[in-house]
Symmetry: C2
């Protein structure tokens, strides 16, 4: 997919960032969604949203052992179409300027998406899930079980 | 802090990974916790846990505008003491081997920690929070508002 250039909008501010190099990531898989363009993506994924498919690359497939015991998973993915230098943003051009860290916008210094999904099915190294909001072809970073299973705390 | 070498344990498997270079991260701040060693860290953070302090570096501080309106925040951080090649793990040496993606262990290909915290206070570019589980000095990657505020869906 061609890289989209996001223009800065009224009231927004951008920092002057050097190239990021504090830590590096593996792309461990690929996410297939029905959203072919950013314009088609929902603002947030919902667990009754459309079926999506997560491919885990062969090198990492052994990491899926026992994942079938979880109904809900946290998925981390890389929003590579994002602009990384925006510090304040004007979402929906409504004139209410907020800092990037007070928004779940994909435009952020480290554009890591995080969604909770419902696990619908597994075939080998492919998971079928509901609850994603990202564009088709997005790179997968991590799969974690729902933290509610690991805490006496209220569900987070 | 000195890098800890994690030995592989009974039943665990490691992949042969090349150096990661698919995407790069900024360290945007630093997290102070009372946990001075990995052994002191809780298994998961809890929102009635000890007070911790998140410093956002000056270059990114404008991104905090309006963050005070949120009671709960999602924090992403970089678990740089982690071993990244483990595909199956033997947590607690209990002999129940699970894949890395069926565990919330810090040992994972992309060692990104994710916790939901309670925002207790703000002073400039320093946030006081409860709910973290990471070692003192951990690098901050992102702050996002609780996604529950952005969805009609049940709280995720």
């Amino acid at each position: 997919m061609a890289k989209v250039k996001f223009e800065i909008r009224d009231g927004e501010t951008a920092g002057e960032l050097t190239e990021p190099d504090d830590a590096s990531l593996y792309f461990i898989g690929r996410i297939e969604t029905p959203f072919k363009t950013l314009a088609e993506c929902p603002r947030q994924g919902v667990v009754d949203g459309p079926l999506c498919r997560i491919e885990v690359f062969q090198d990492f497939a052994d990491g899926l052992k026992n994942i079938e015991q979880f109904e809900r998973l946290q998925i981390l993915y890389w929003l590579d179409l994002s602009r990384r230098d925006l510090l304040t943003q004007n979402p929906g051009l409504k004139g209410r300027i907020s800092g990037t860290f007070a928004l779940r916008s994909p435009q952020r210094p480290n554009p890591i998406g995080s969604s909770m999904v419902e696990l619908v099915g597994i075939e080998g190294r492919f998971l079928t899930v509901r609850g994603l909001d990202c564009v088709d072809g997005t790179a997968l970073l991590d799969i974690k079980p729902d933290r509610c299973k690991f805490s006496d705390n209220r569900c987070q």
